[in-house]
């Protein structure tokens, strides 16, 4: 495999990189590089040998041409908020960070398009266009920090993707610097593709096709109005019944999010959002559309929640109450940080009707491994986020946390689901890929990757497991926190 052909970083190459980028764009001190040793998947850590902070596609092109000549592998990085170890260096000494490519280049309201550099923060796009009644639909929980480039790599979702779709549904065109340094302009501002859908192949490729430097995104019209409900249940089963009842009624809400008791407690301890601490589960349900129709729809949805067992349904009375509910939801991950020194967030998916089963299974897995596992997730599309609490100073508990995570993923697959809904395979789930894909599937996927990156130098050892071996073999330097 070409992976084995990657060269190590030598001082001559570092000197040439300094000549291309200047000293201020290069981080090489081990103490400073430690910041980049992991993303949101903190179980495994490995700092790059060198971090580059280029300012433009032209600089990235020059860098990649040099790395290509020297056969040195690299890993792209946005804000490092990923949850699957997507930007963990595994056999790639050089990390290239896109954070300086942070300009919104053009906003075109007439065509509902925006052109941005890939280091632009997700929320900044919506902030730039909200005044004119538009937003950028994909809204991952990390949207205050994560970048559009990172979203493109992971095909990120978020609560409102139930109605509005994930990143791939909103990216029309890309500029990418391929691993050989060639700059390619793919797709464009039209809604029809010319030739193969290369943009569609790159979105979600987890940074293995090259470094995306610019994107043409679709803007979505802000709905005229929203109604946000909080439905309170005695247990998660009743809450999942309500989700099925709502969807079955033909309503597609903007979002349906579930939080279980452990998460409710964590959120209340951290933010006092007014969630009932004695509830077994809550649903945050958001409806959007035409104001004239929404009150009736909200009442109907509230009734469906009650008839499914909700003990109480609260309606957010104003924007402030709505914001409080969403703050509680989006900061749930941070709140969990108060409950344990470490946590790992899973991202499995099951067919929506299997939610009660998978939640029961997760509870059993938690008991079996003597772990606490909370659930906060996108119930509307069956995308679960079990949060496994652990303390990395306790090697046995860490081992149990990893084992529990794997068991949850296996359970999702056994129920006809998938390993990941929006976080990506990264390193976290790479050894589970054969659970859902045959050897032939994986061969064809790795061939597709080589269309863009024949030598496999862009983010090596990700997504597709190496034939006949686990990733650790290829990456002796990578340390798990075991």
């Amino acid at each position: 495999m070409p992976t084995g052909a990657h060269a190590s970083l030598d001082s001559a190459t570092v000197a040439e990189l300094r000549a291309i980028l200047g000293d201020d764009a290069i981080v090489s001190r081990p103490t400073e590089l430690k910041v980049y040793e992991c993303d949101g998947w903190t179980i495994e850590k490995n700092a790059p040998e060198l971090l580059l902070r280029p300012r433009s596609a032209a600089e990235i092109s020059a860098v990649l041409k040099l790395l290509d000549r020297r056969a040195i592998a690299f890993v792209p990085r946005g804000a490092g908020t990923g949850l699957s170890g997507g930007c963990l260096p595994v056999g790639a000494p050089v990390m290239i960070c896109t954070s300086r490519l942070n300009r919104i280049l053009a906003i075109d309201y007439a065509n509902r398009r925006v052109e941005v550099e890939s280091g632009v923060v997700n929320l900044h796009v919506s902030n730039a266009v909200r005044g004119r009644g538009f937003f950028y639909a994909p809204d991952p929980s990390s949207q205050m920090a994560c970048t559009i480039g990172g979203n493109i790599a992971e095909n990120s979702g978020g609560p409102h993707t139930l109605k509005y779709g994930v990143t791939t549904n909103h990216v029309l065109g890309l500029e990418i610097v391929l691993p050989d340094g060639e700059i390619a302009e793919l797709g464009g501002p039209t809604e029809e593709r010319l030739g193969y859908d290369l943009v569609g192949a790159i979105v979600g490729a987890e940074g293995t096709a090259g470094i995306v430097t610019r994107a043409t995104l679709r803007l979505t019209r802000e709905p005229e109005a929203r109604r946000t409900l909080l439905a309170i249940f005695a247990d998660v089963e009743a809450a999942t019944r309500a989700v099925s009842a709502i969807i079955a009624s033909g309503v597609i809400p903007g979002a349906i999010e579930m939080m279980d008791q452990l998460i409710i407690e964590a959120v209340e301890a951290a933010f006092h959002a007014g969630l009932p601490r004695d509830a077994g589960a809550v649903l945050i349900i958001e409806l959007d559309g035409i104001a004239a129709a929404l009150d009736a729809e909200a009442r109907a949805v509230g009734e469906l929640a009650r008839s499914s067992g909700a003990r109480e349904v609260r309606f957010a009375r104003d924007e402030a109450e709505r914001a409080t509910l969403w703050k509680a939801r989006k900061r749930a991950f941070g709140a969990v940080g108060r409950l344990a020194p470490n946590y790992a967030t899973q991202d499995g998916v099951v067919p929506r009707t299997r939610l009660p089963e998978i939640l029961r299974e997760i509870a059993q897995i938690a008991r079996r491994h003597a772990l606490r596992i909370g659930n906060v997730f996108h119930a509307g599309d069956g995308n679960i986020h079990p949060i496994v609490l652990y303390d990395e100073r306790d090697p046995d508990e860490t081992r149990r946390a990893i084992a529990a995570g794997r068991e949850i993923l296996r359970a999702c697959v056994a129920m006809g689901g998938s390993l990941t809904g929006e976080h990506g395979i990264g390193v976290e789930k790479i050894s589970e890929m054969p659970l859902i894909f045959s050897p032939d599937d994986l061969i064809v996927m790795s061939e597709l990757r080589r269309v863009f990156d024949p030598a496999q130098r862009a983010n090596p050892n990700k997504v597709i497991p190496a034939p006949g071996g686990c990733v650790e073999v290829a990456a002796p330097r990578r340390q798990a926190a075991l």
Binding site: G188, G200, D441
Partner: protein, 422 residues
């Protein structure tokens, strides 16, 4: 590329050994534009054997459903057509999960008949769903008016199975509505026109059928005012679809004699009732609102609209606000999906030179706004004269060539009728 009768007889014998003699025959009618021999395998396993045989003997094959998409695009017939007609089973419909798995030979109409009982549909609405197989719909990235509100194939296809190089049976995606595991083979296969492999099975998200469907129509003396009204409406309220039509198309649809705006709307009762009042206010000109059976009939006529006598039908794609200027400068009749920046243009009978000049001029205008033109259909006598696709930029084309040679190293999958001659 004429194939001798001896060769045909040999092909028939060879493939009869795989699928049985009853499922091999000479091509008839429009099929003969696609291929000389039609082979109708029973399943992906037989297709896998067919592919291996074709690769070994360098036999050019072309997959087809109802032989429509292929008959429109092939310049010369392939040696064999692989018909998906026997892969016609809906494998799994899960109304509560809102997903459906169906073999590639199932027609869109058959699929939607099955889901309608549960108030759902696959909201891709190309013309003539009864003649559109799912495989062809995906391979040709077909679409219809509802793309405005529901998206296109690439937004709804969540899993795919195909037979590729070496007879590999490959699947991507899965059965769940949200899934980022592995590379997105659904996007790769969508719009690939059979050049990368033979799609055998598709999995889609389905959506609730609109509880009510209504249509507003209004006539305008000129294109600019029709388009301005369309933009105004699109900005103000959620619509199911939005079309602007040229005078002959309007007349054929019985919507006056000028340019027309057609806006579909609806949903649950309170929304439909509100829009029923609000949309005429926004249009502010003479308009007609259709409800119930009349609205559905008009919607289906718009969806299926065609001018079959056209010498050529072209698809123009441009940023939505740039499309009217291109249409205004173009001879021919059109139906434009105004919110999406996509129009079907019908060009009347012309000689090859004139048609070539017109298409070149539209391409030039589209390119200036980073749009492109695809010639969807050409009268057979003009077929060799017209380039079907714009050329992608050089770097993109290099990647597309690599994609083709990676997926189809022997060059047997429907070659010669895609971008750049792929």
């Amino acid at each position: 590329m004429a194939i001798s009768s001896e060769t045909i007889a040999k092909l028939e014998r060879d493939f009869a050994a795989i699928v049985g003699a009853a499922h091999v025959r000479a091509a008839i009618g429009a099929e003969s534009r696609c291929a000389s021999v039609v082979v109708t395998p029973a399943d992906a396993g037989e297709i896998s054997e067919i592919v291996r045989r074709c690769e070994a003997d360098r036999i050019i094959l072309a997959p087809f459903g109802a032989a429509r998409a292929l008959a429109e695009i092939r310049l010369a017939p392939a040696a064999i057509a692989v018909s998906l007609a026997r892969l016609d089973r809906i494998v799994a419909y899960e109304p509560d999960d809102m997903t459906v798995v169906a073999a590639a030979g199932v027609t869109l109409a058959a699929l939607n008949a099955a889901t309608a009982a549960r108030g759902q549909w696959l909201p891709v609405d190309p013309p003539r769903p009864e003649l559109t197989t799912l495989g062809a719909m995906v391979a040709a990235a077909r679409f219809g008016p509802s793309r405005l509100s529901e998206g296109i194939v690439r937004d709804l296809l969540i899993g795919v199975r195909f037979v590729g190089h070496d007879g590999r049976i490959v699947h991507g995606g899965g059965n769940v509505v949200k899934n980022v595991a592995g590379y997105d083979l659904m996007k790769v296969m969508t719009g690939s026109f059979g050049t990368l492999g033979i799609i055998t099975e598709t999995t889609f998200r389905v959506r609730p059928l609109p509880a009510r469907r209504l249509i507003a129509c209004a006539g305008f003396a000129d294109l600019d005012s029709a388009y301005a009204a369309a933009a105004n409406l699109h900005d103000a309220v959620p619509l199911l679809h939005l079309e602007v039509t040229s005078p002959s198309v309007s007349a054929a649809l019985h919507i006056g004699a000028g340019f027309a705006l057609i806006a579909g709307f609806g949903g649950a009762a309170p929304e439909a009732d509100y829009l029923r009042v609000r949309i005429p206010e926004l249009l502010g000109v003479n308009n007609e609102i259709l409800d119930g059976a009349a609205a559905i009939a008009r919607y289906e006529r718009i969806r299926d609209f065609d001018l079959p006598a056209s010498a050529a039908v072209a698809l123009i794609a441009a940023p939505p606000a740039e499309l009217p200027a291109i249409l205004a400068a173009t001879p021919g009749e059109f139906i434009a999906h105004a919110g999406s920046g996509v129009a079907r243009l019908f060009l009347a009978a012309l000689d090859a030179d004139e048609l070539g000049r017109i298409v070149a001029a539209i391409r030039d205008r589209a390119r200036r706004v980073r749009g492109h033109v695809r010639v969807m259909r050409v009268a057979s006598e003009l077929r060799g004269e017209i380039r079907r696709f714009d050329n992608p930029p050089a770097a993109a084309m290099t990647l597309m060539r690599r994609m083709k040679t990676t997926f189809d190293p022997r060059g047997i999958f429907n070659p010669g009728c895609f971008v750049g001659g792929l």
